[in-house]
């Protein structure tokens, strides 16, 4: 996990400290860094504001069709930011599709979406599901008895939500928010399409325009430092609270704690509908439109089942590896808090905040020079994904693990199981909702990962993401539409299974 860090330090100091300070302390570098911090803050706040109500509405209320909403609201996660950004620009651009549609009404030009508002909108729309999924997991794992006790002691619905439910959800919200914040630091697709000068864009520009890797590495190292600062902030929100109970509550038939929305149902539906419309219906609609336009002008329909299979295969492997690797890290962090656990957990976040190109080049460097046997194999690619996306699995696993009482594990130890036995037969099953949510996140993010896939995949290994890239980078939008729709479809299936499985529990 520290390979990217080692690489960055090596490259940064290649030309000595002089260049390091010159690049790092350039006023421009600091200004762009500040802009990135603003972007990450806005996106994180907006994501929490959108996702927490959605999670609550789809788990705890009688919202009509709430399971369908749950699936639909989580799906925007499968839309790659480079596709989502493109769609937003072509729809809401000053002279985009929306303006076309409004032209008869005399609308000549829509207001600008480029810059901070557009970039923040795009990143929020396609990353709020990180918070949604972790919060849903926690809501389902939470003991309803706490809320009932609060209600029976005379608190109203709102007061119960803010004083009991929300504090219980804090670890899940923070875990999701952390993923969103770090993602918005590392994303390149949305910020470049929406023309916002973020730090990751600066790094890409440096790589793409000058063939000197030292300044890019210095910028990468600064991003690592920023990540460190964000992680330190996150630690302060954790505190010493416990989220499990001394004894397990009774299991109730499902639907026991449903809140009747009454006339609030309509605004709730409107809210869900608006989010799903913007984040899912518009992108898919535009893709279908491109596809239809392409087919109409004689493009053959190319369904890349081979690429789809490769995508699913490598993403499933990455998800399994990340889930397996995340469990010990999460257990260490929850059960044995201390500086060792702290460092291990923080390190797992390193690879996540780095733009894909930095991570990929660091593994190119180590792979080609120190592990030539592994270089260019699927194993190294899966390793790259696992390093990149491990925190998604760690965060979700950790949040549910907090709800598991250590006394259950102690009882199992007391009854004669060994530590690994307890982990496999007691801890893992009890934390399964988090583990599954975590591996689902890794699966979905791997499906759309691009920079590392391009540089590290075995030669000739095509995924849906690389097919989309191939088409969009030369503006064959019609040709990009088919693999993009396939990507959404293929990713929707595990997401759907994941969410309907909840019903059986």
């Amino acid at each position: 996990m520290t390979l990217p860090l080692v690489y960055l330090v090596l490259r940064s100091l290649e030309n000595g400290w002089g260049e390091f300070f010159e690049v790092a302390l350039r006023p421009r570098t600091l200004a762009v860094l500040a802009r990135s911090v603003v972007l990450a803050t806005v996106v994180t706040a907006a994501s929490v504001a959108v996702a927490v109500p959605l999670a609550w509405l789809t788990t705890r209320t009688d919202l009509p069709g709430r399971r369908a909403w749950a699936v639909l609201a989580a799906l925007p996660l499968v839309v790659p930011s480079y596709v989502g950004g493109l769609v937003l620009v072509s729809t809401f651009g000053p002279r985009g599709l929306l303006q076309d549609a409004l032209a008869p009404l005399g609308v000549e030009r829509l207001p600008e979406i480029y810059g901070l508002p557009g970039a923040a909108l795009a990143l929020t729309l396609f990353s709020y599901p990180y918070v949604l999924l972790t919060v849903r997991g926690a809501l389902r794992g939470m003991d309803p008895a706490l809320e009932e006790a609060s209600r029976s002691l005379g608190s109203g619905g709102w007061s119960t939500f803010f004083r009991v439910t929300l504090p219980q959800l804090r670890p899940a919200i923070v875990a999701g928010a952390l993923l969103v914040a770090l993602y918005s630091l590392s994303d390149f697709g949305a910020v470049s399409l929406l023309q916002f000068d973020s730090f990751s864009r600066e790094i890409y520009t440096q790589y793409r325009s000058a063939f000197d890797r030292t300044p890019a590495a210095i910028l990468g190292l600064m991003l690592v430092a920023l990540t460190g600062a964000i992680l330190a902030l996150e630690v302060r929100t954790r505190g010493r609270a416990r989220y499990h109970r001394s004894s397990a509550g009774s299991v109730r038939p499902r639907g026991g704690t449903v809140v009747a929305l009454g006339r609030w149902r309509w605004p709730a539906l409107l809210f869900c509908g608006a989010v799903v419309l913007l984040a899912l219906v518009v992108p898919v609609g535009v893709l279908v439109f491109w596809l239809a336009r392409g087919l109409a002008s004689g493009e053959p329909l190319r369904l890349l089942w081979g690429a789809a299979f490769d995508s699913v295969y490598v993403s499933a492997l990455a998800a399994a590896v990340a889930a397996l690797a995340a469990l010990p890290v999460a257990i260490l962090a929850v059960r044995f808090p201390g500086w060792v656990a702290g460092i291990v957990e923080r390190l797992s976040y390193l690879g996540y905040a780095l733009p894909g190109i930095v991570l990929a080049l660091s593994l190119v460097f180590f792979g080609a020079n120190y592990a030539p046997g592994l270089y260019g194999t699927l194993a190294l690619l899966v390793f790259a994904y696992a390093v990149h996306f491990l925190p998604q699995a760690v965060g979700a696993t950790r949040a549910t693990l907090l709800q598991v009482s250590p006394s259950v594990e102690e009882a199992a130890r007391g009854l004669g199981r060994g530590p690994t036995g307890v982990m496999a037969t007691v801890t893992a099953p009890l934390a399964s909702s988090g583990i599954i949510a975590g591996s689902a996140l890794v699966f979905l993010t791997t499906m759309k990962e691009l920079p590392a896939t391009l540089l590290l995949a075995p030669l000739g290994f095509d995924t849906l993401a690389t097919s989309i890239w191939t088409a969009t980078s030369e503006a064959f939008f019609a040709r990009a539409a088919a693999p993009a729709l396939l990507l959404v479809l293929v990713s929707a299936l595990p997401m759907y299974l994941l969410l309907i499985k909840e019903r059986s529990r």
Binding site: V89, G96, Y207, F211, V251, Y313, N369, G376, L455, A475
Partner: protein, 387 residues
């Protein structure tokens, strides 16, 4: 107390149902692994099927001996087939590489990616680079590899086919197709007569709010580098500041600029010539945009090249040279002229009739090999707040 104990026990018993979720997941993964194993066994058949169904998607030799390379474990291919790192898009060069495979019987494995990222990859790989050939989108990336001493000299008979202005003075890379810088303009907003005779005139305030450019784009930066080389640092700086004062719209790449021109977001954009033709083909008809060429060796009429270099660590140098010869053959040059709307760089290949012939473009007096001072350009772009 006893109630608590029973409920805890019941909860533990109930929790046994939970492993099914994990179990189901690992069964899924297992199936995926088994599935791939199955595919690998029948690899030859399915790979060729794939390539015929997708119309040239697969480039790794349909049905050939090393088709297994397209699935797992395909990394150790050095020594097997020719390995090409292509910064040129698969949609554009995939079909012609496939034709090379068919005609030469040589297996080609291609890694597609962004030109600069692939150049950085080759630099990181160092001595262990699996790549034999670097097929670059622009001369700048090839120049960067030349500076690091990574490319080997090319055979004279390949070099001699291409004009001096489109190859490395030391013969370590050679251009295979040309792309001209032009101004794309919206034909509904402007006529050709309204456009200035030099790109330097776009600093005039009359162009305020009407220009689109892509400062992060490699082709644009190559042009700025050329401007610095031809007219000097001060003129380049003045030009950048002047255009910047006209509040140009910034795009991510040439294509986005052209889309902006077509949709009327902007009236003129600085792009490469061939995007117009691609967009026309994609949208299946007329778009309200046209290309405008500068005359008289204006810096705005730079012609850059996509080119090929052979790594000096290549394991398959003879095959790599054969690849280069093929790309400079009449067949491949005709392909570039017809399919990617680029300029052929050898004599006697008829070009698309909508193009202004290369011989009529008087390119500015700049050596493409000198356009590798991109750090200087990057610094200038930053100092003028263009980037």
């Amino acid at each position: 107390m006893s109630r608590g104990a029973t409920s805890e026990r019941r909860n533990l018993i109930l929790s046994w149902k939970r492993p099914y979720g994990i179990l189901a997941f690992f069964v899924f993964v297992l199936l995926a692994v088994v599935g791939c194993g199955g595919q690998e066994e029948s690899g030859g058949g399915s790979a060729s099927e794939g390539s015929s169904a997708s119309g040239g998607e697969t480039t790794s030799g349909g049905g050939s001996a090393s088709a297994g390379g397209s699935t797992s474990g395909g990394g150790e291919v050095s020594g097997e087939g020719l390995v090409v790192y292509s910064g040129r898009n698969e949609e554009l060069v995939g079909p012609i590489i496939e034709r090379f495979e068919e005609e030469s019987g040589i297996d080609v494995e291609v890694r597609y990616g962004d030109t600069a990222e692939l150049a950085a990859t080759i630099l990181e790989e160092g001595q262990n680079s699996p790549a034999d050939v670097f097929f670059s989108q622009d001369a700048g990336a090839l120049g960067a590899l030349t500076n690091e001493g990574i490319l080997s000299p090319l055979p004279e008979d390949a070099l001699s086919q291409v004009e001096e202005r489109f190859k490395d003075p030391n013969g370590e890379w050679v251009g295979v197709s040309g792309r001209a810088r032009v101004v794309a303009y919206n034909t509904e907003a402007l006529s050709e007569e309204e456009l200035p005779s030099s790109i330097l005139d776009f600093t005039d305030p009359e162009w305020n709010g009407r220009i689109g450019w892509a400062p992060t784009n490699g082709s644009f930066q190559a042009f700025v580098t050329a401007l610095r080389v031809i007219e000097g640092e001060d003129v380049a700086r003045e030009w950048l500041e002047g255009v910047q004062a006209n509040d140009p719209r910034r795009y991510d790449n040439n294509l986005a600029i052209l889309e902006g021109v077509v949709s009327g977001e902007i009236e003129v954009g600085f792009v490469n010539h061939y995007y117009l033709f691609q967009l026309q083909e994609e949208s299946g008809g007329d778009v309200p945009a046209a290309n405008y060429y500068f005359q008289n060796g204006d810096p705005g009429s730079l012609v850059n090249v996509a080119g090929i270099g052979i790594l000096n660590t290549a394991d398959n140098t003879p095959e790599a040279q054969e690849f280069l010869e093929f790309m400079l053959s009449e067949e491949a040059q005709q392909y570039f002229a017809d399919e990617t709307f680029e300029y052929s760089l050898i004599e006697g290949v008829p070009i698309n009739e909508e193009l202004v012939p290369l011989s009529e473009i008087e390119t500015p007096n700049a050596d493409l090999g000198n356009l590798d001072d991109l750090q200087g350009t990057l610094d200038l772009l930053r100092e003028t707040f263009v980037l």
